[in-house]
Symmetry: C2
Subunit: 117 residues, 2 copies
DNA sequence: CAGTATCCCTATGGATACTG
DNA sequence: CAGTATCCATAGGGATACTG
């Protein structure tokens, strides 16, 4: 489900609401890194995601105004995704969390997901 | 369930893993604000949380090394919770997200949860 | 290529009652 | 006070097959 419209306890609550979902922060990250991405590119960038989940989370991000979706009426079909301004600023707000997470990975000796091309 | 030990895609992934759970970020916030809190105080600070959920999420935070739990062998029983160093630094990393969330609340006109004492 | 449409399982979370 | 113990509903997520 897309994020609710409140009520929220605080800003963290409101922010977590739109990023909660197994793949959302990773999609934001992917889009922030590459700019524009097509469906299949995102799929390859997120090893393990199913088509259903990818579509679903993209639609919710779109509904929450973080991602813009553009359909090109061609054959074969082409759809491009990119961050909106709000998506970009959310990603920037997530940066500190990313740094903390890297430190945690080091601390507990976590592995990184192997990117199988 | 407490956080896994990897593998993770990136730092965001690793960080989100320990904060995902409806009440976790709010518990961290509450503890950061007040320092030491007892069970019943946390319960009052999080309107709507059930005892089961509060216990569960506190235990998971403890297991992940973000919260320290101290039991005082008294009658009536007293248990105090406080952030560990890692909990404090995670909270600091969440600050930027909180700012973004407040801005989002303003944007969509979300209400704040009414704190019923 | 970029999705739908199903089916199905589990984790998450909520309500309530009870206890040392 | 600070929890357990149950029971239950739902949403999140996964696998697979099909389509314009």
């Amino acid at each position: 489900m897309a994020a609710r419209r409140g009520p929220y306890f605080c800003g963290i609550d409101a922010a977590m609401d739109v990023v909660s979902g197994k793949w959302k922060s990773l999609i934001l990250w992917e889009l922030a890194e590459h700019g524009v991405r097509r469906f299949a590119q995102l799929r390859r960038g997120l090893p393990g995601v199913s088509e259903k989940m990818l579509v679903q989370q993209l639609r919710e991000l779109e509904e929450d105004g973080l991602v813009r979706r553009e359909v090109f009426p061609e054959v074969p079909p082409r759809v491009e995704y990119e961050l909106t301004g709000h998506g970009v600023s959310l990603n920037e707000a997530l940066a500190a969390l990313g740094v903390w997470g890297v430190e945690r990975m080091r601390r507990i000796g976590a592995e990184k997901v192997v990117h199988t091309p």
